[in-house]
Structures are given as structure tokens and as C-alpha cells.
């Protein structure tokens, strides 16, 4: 009952937000076009480099496109669903967050439903195209387990990115400003993990495996689905369970968020 009710409220929030954005159609489509050029450009860069260099330490272009697809689809979903958290710093500064606290719904739900920025979905297009194109060329063995693993890793990836964005917003409870620098973790994380992480230096690779565990929702499950043994030597069972870490990360972030809400002192303006 409670969950259904939350979902219903959430859907209404999103409907309002989408209708609002459609009021400025020309601007909306130009922004969408601009975003598409940028994200498509990033994928084109991968194609250009493979055209020059043939391989990336043993990886071929389809394998990289496969990983690129998973990471970008995950991020697009998370990014679109968490716009409200991006605006959170301003809400704390202006005192608008007080209004949210007075409403009989959870704060996280209200913020997530604050705005669904449609143009952020632009990242989804190159992600889906890359994944489709890679799948058609890789001759994958689509067992039930692998289809499930793909879905779990996208869900895990979206959760992990959403968790990072929530954590970033949580800082505003203490600093009254969301730190721009935290964007390095999300956007930098996308940039890093859209390539196989074994190409990086060990300290950097460890950072994105153990610190900000983005590799666990892209690289490891992708290896299992593609049937490629890990050059880093992780066992197959680990590659199957790794994406669950992303979901755990989101749950942990929401706990930290709750601690933040409990410590919240209004700026009073």
C-alpha cells in the first residue's frame, strides 16, 4: 500500500514536470540536440581511436562499446531521476527545503520527483545504440542468466550513480552548498568506467573498484556476459554478484541522507 502510494505520487510529480518543460518546445529541442551532439561525440571519439589503433591492449571496439553502453545507460537513468538532488543546494540556501519537510511524504521521494529533466535522457540514445551495435557484433550467448545479469548491472549502475548524487547533495546539509568538485566523481566516473578498467594504473583502478565501486556494475558483469576471462583475474561468481554492490551503495546513501535530514538546521531565511 505504502509503496504503491509512493509510486503514484511519484508519477504525478513527473507528469507535472514533463508538461512544464514542453512549454518551451524550441528551446527544449535545441538543448536536446546539443546534448546529443556532445554525447554522440564521446562515442565517436572511441570509434576514431579504434580506427587509428586497432585495439586497446587486447580489447576490440565492440567489447569497449558494450561496456560504454552499460555505463551510459545506467548514468542516463540515474541522472534523469535525481535532478531534484542537483537543485538541493539552492533549496537549502533559500530555505525552500523547509516546505518539503512539512509535507507527509519522504524527503527523498519528493526530491526525486522534483523534476525529470527530459533532455538528460539524451545520454540514453548513444548508450542504447552502442549496446545494440556491440551486441549484434559480439556473438553473445544469451542465456537467461546473462540477460538477467545485464538487467541487474544496469539497475545496479543506475543505483550506484543515484547513490553518488544523493551523497553529493547530502553534503549540502553541512556546507549549504553542493560541491562542484563532487561532479568529478559522477562525470569522471562515467568517463573512466566507459573503458575497461584494466587499462588504468593500479591505484586508479582500485579507486573505482573499492572506493567508488563503479567497476563492479559495468566492467565485471560485462566480462561475464561477454565470456571473456578477466585480465585482472577475478572469479566468475564475483562477476555475477558484483552489480549488487551498486544497490547496496544506494541503500547506504539513503541512510546517510536520513542522518543529514535529522541534523538539518534551516538557514531561516
Amino acid at each position: 500500500m505504502n509503496v504503491l502510494d509512493s509510486l503514484y505520487v511519484y508519477r504525478r510529480f513527473l507528469g507535472v514536470s514533463i508538461r512544464a518543460q514542453m512549454q518551451y518546445k524550441a528551446s527544449f529541442f535545441m538543448q536536446l540536440g546539443g546534448r546529443l551532439i556532445i554525447t554522440a561525440g564521446e562515442f565517436m571519439a572511441i570509434l576514431v581511436l579504434f580506427d587509428r589503433f586497432d585495439s586497446l591492449i587486447g580489447w576490440n571496439v565492440y567489447q569497449v562499446a558494450f561496456i560504454y553502453g552499460i555505463v551510459n545507460i545506467s548514468f542516463a537513468v540515474a541522472d534523469a531521476l535525481t535532478t531534484g538532488f542537483d537543485l538541493f543546494g539552492d533549496m537549502v540556501k533559500s530555505g525552500d527545503f523547509d516546505r518539503i519537510l512539512t509535507r507527509p511524504r519522504s524527503t527523498a521521494l519528493q526530491l526525486a520527483g522534483q523534476e525529470l529533466t527530459l533532455r538528460r535522457i539524451s545520454r540514453l540514445t548513444p548508450g542504447l545504440l552502442a549496446l545494440t551495435w556491440a551486441t549484434m557484433n559480439l556473438e553473445l550467448n544469451w542465456t537467461v542468466a546473462n540477460v538477467g545479469l545485464l538487467m541487474v548491472s544496469v539497475a545496479g549502475g543506475a543505483s550506484l550513480f543515484a547513490g553518488l548524487i544523493v551523497l553529493q547533495a547530502t553534503l549540502a546539509f553541512w556546507t549549504t552548498e553542493t560541491l562542484e568538485m563532487m561532479n568529478t566523481m559522477t562525470y569522471g566516473g562515467v568517463e573512466t568506467t566507459q573503458y575497461p578498467i584494466n587499462i588504468y594504473r593500479p591505484w586508479f583502478r582500485n579507486l573505482f573498484t573499492f572506493g567508488i565501486p563503479l567497476a563492479t556494475v559495468s566492467y565485471f558483469p560485462a566480462l561475464a556476459i561477454m565470456g571473456v576471462p578477466d585480465p585482472l583475474g577475478t572469479p566468475l561468481w564475483f562477476q555475477y554478484v558484483a552489480p549488487l554492490i551498486g544497490i547496496g551503495f544506494l541503500l547506504m546513501s539513503l541512510q546517510v541522507w536520513r542522518i543529514g535530514v535529522r541534523h538539518y538546521l534551516s538557514t531561516g531565511s
Binding site: 529541442f29 535545441m30 538543448q31 546539443g34 546534448r35 551532439i37 581511436l49 586497432d54 586508479f204
Partner: protein, 263 residues
């Protein structure tokens, strides 16, 4: 002339106030540079074939790109947008200066001040810790300096053109995003231009965007020899002139039918 100089330097000083934003930007760009350098190193380790640009040249190219990132035409002047939205643009029109040169002066400091604050520490970092190489010769260094100035003027002319389009669209976000997408792809920020396929080189070279990034950096590296300096500089100047003329025409058109909002 004095009045434009005053606009430029006043704006410059006010922009130098945002130091903590500059520090955050600096760290972001160091991380970004590291990621990109490692990706290119991995690609270069995968091949023995001769490439159009050496691996160490690409690394220096990437660090230069991070250092001078803020000089790219990546956003519009939000102060001007506020003026247009509120109708206070009317005051701008009665100032005893040419509005186009006034906006271009603003754009020049808007592109230079934040860039300088980031470029100096980032270059120091890249030289000391990342093994970035200095200009290949004194002549190359001077050619780079001249060409980099032209790059900033070109970027400012493009920015001003985007600002002028706000007189029609009011938001300006859409066209700015689209322009920035083209800038990223065709300037060399995403992939150094010599690495693009050979067939695409003539097309990319004709476009204005290489003048923002690729031209000055390759002069620095000696990848464009000094004998070609006059030619590539002329390419930058022609495009600066094009954007200035286009901006002036667009502005004149817009002002003829201007309706000031607000009361």
C-alpha cells in the same frame, strides 16, 4: 578605446574574486586530464605502427587543453541574459559606446580571467609532476603565445555571437549547447585533430574550431612548423573577422526591432 579598456579591466577584476570555484575547477581538470592521459597511453601501448602524433605530444596536448579549457566558448553571459529578461537591456542601449564592442570587451575578460586562474597552477602541476614538455623552441613558444591570443579573441567573438542570439531567443541555452558540442568535437578537445581519419582532415581544417585549440597547441609542439605559422594565423583571423561581422549584422537586425520587456 579607453572606455572599452575600462569595461574589460573592471570585469576582469570582478571575475578574479571567485577563487574557491577556481580551486574546485582546478582539481576537476587535474583528474580529467589524468583519466584522458591514461586512456591515450593505453592506446599507444597497443600499437607499434607510426602515428600522426607521438604519445608524449598527445599528453602535452591534453594538459594544454585542460589548462586553457575555460577559454572555450562554452556558455553565455548570464548577466546579459538577466538584462534581456528584465528589460534593463534598455539602459545598455543608451550608453555612449558601441554595443557590439562593449559586449565583445565583456566577453574577452569573461574568457580570459577564469582561464588564467586555472591555467597557471595547472601548467605548474603538469610540468612538475606529469612530465609535460615545454615549447619545442623559443620561436614555437612565441608562435604559440600569439596564436593563443588569437584563439581567445576567436572564442570571444563566438561567445558574443551567441550572446547576440539571445536578443531573439531570450534563453540562448539551445544554440550554446549545440555550438559547444561542435567545439568539443572539431577543436581537438575530445581527440587531437591529427588522429582523426585522413579523409576528414581537409574538412576539419576548414572549420573555425581548430583555431580554438589545435592550432596553438600544435605550434607549441612544433607539430605545425614555424614556416606554416602565417597560414594558420591567417585562418584564425579570417574566422575572427567572420564572427565579428556576423555578430554585428545580427545585432543591428535585432536592435532595429527591439521591444524592451518590463516596465
Amino acid at each position: 578605446m579607453i572606455s572599452y579598456w575600462a569595461i574589460l579591466s573592471a570585469r576582469f577584476r570582478s571575475l578574479l574574486q571567485y577563487r574557491s570555484a577556481a580551486l574546485a575547477g582546478l582539481i576537476t581538470q587535474v583528474v580529467w586530464g589524468l583519466i584522458r592521459v591514461m586512456i591515450f597511453q593505453a592506446f599507444y601501448r597497443s600499437t607499434n605502427a607510426e602515428q600522426p602524433m607521438s604519445g608524449s605530444d598527445v599528453e602535452t596536448y591534453i594538459w594544454l587543453g585542460q589548462a586553457f579549457l575555460a577559454a572555450l566558448p562554452w556558455n553565455i553571459d548570464t548577466d546579459l541574459r538577466a538584462l534581456i529578461r528584465s528589460g534593463w537591456i534598455g539602459y545598455e542601449l543608451v550608453r555612449p559606446v558601441d554595443l557590439y564592442w562593449y559586449w565583445l570587451s565583456r566577453a574577452l575578460s569573461w574568457r580570459t580571467a577564469p582561464m588564467l586562474m586555472r591555467a597557471v597552477p595547472l601548467l605548474v602541476f603538469a610540468f612538475v609532476l606529469m612530465g609535460m614538455s615545454p615549447p619545442v623552441s623559443v620561436g614555437a613558444g612565441l608562435a604559440f603565445a600569439v596564436s593563443m591570443c588569437a584563439a581567445i579573441v576567436l572564442s570571444s567573438a563566438i561567445t558574443t555571437f551567441l550572446n547576440v542570439t539571445m536578443l531573439w531567443t531570450i534563453t540562448g541555452d539551445g544554440i550554446t549547447q549545440m555550438t559547444f558540442g561542435l567545439v568539443l568535437i572539431f577543436s581537438g578537445m575530445l581527440v587531437p585533430l591529427p588522429l582523426y581519419p585522413d579523409w576528414s582532415q581537409p574538412i576539419i581544417n576548414a572549420m573555425p574550431f581548430r583555431g580554438l585549440v589545435d592550432t596553438p597547441y600544435r605550434l607549441y609542439l612544433g607539430h605545425i612548423p614555424l614556416s606554416e605559422f602565417a597560414g594558420v594565423l591567417a585562418h584564425q583571423l579570417v574566422w575572427i573577422l567572420t564572427f565579428v561581422v556576423a555578430g554585428r549584422i545580427a545585432m543591428a537586425r535585432a536592435l532595429r526591432r527591439v521591444v524592451v520587456q518590463g516596465g
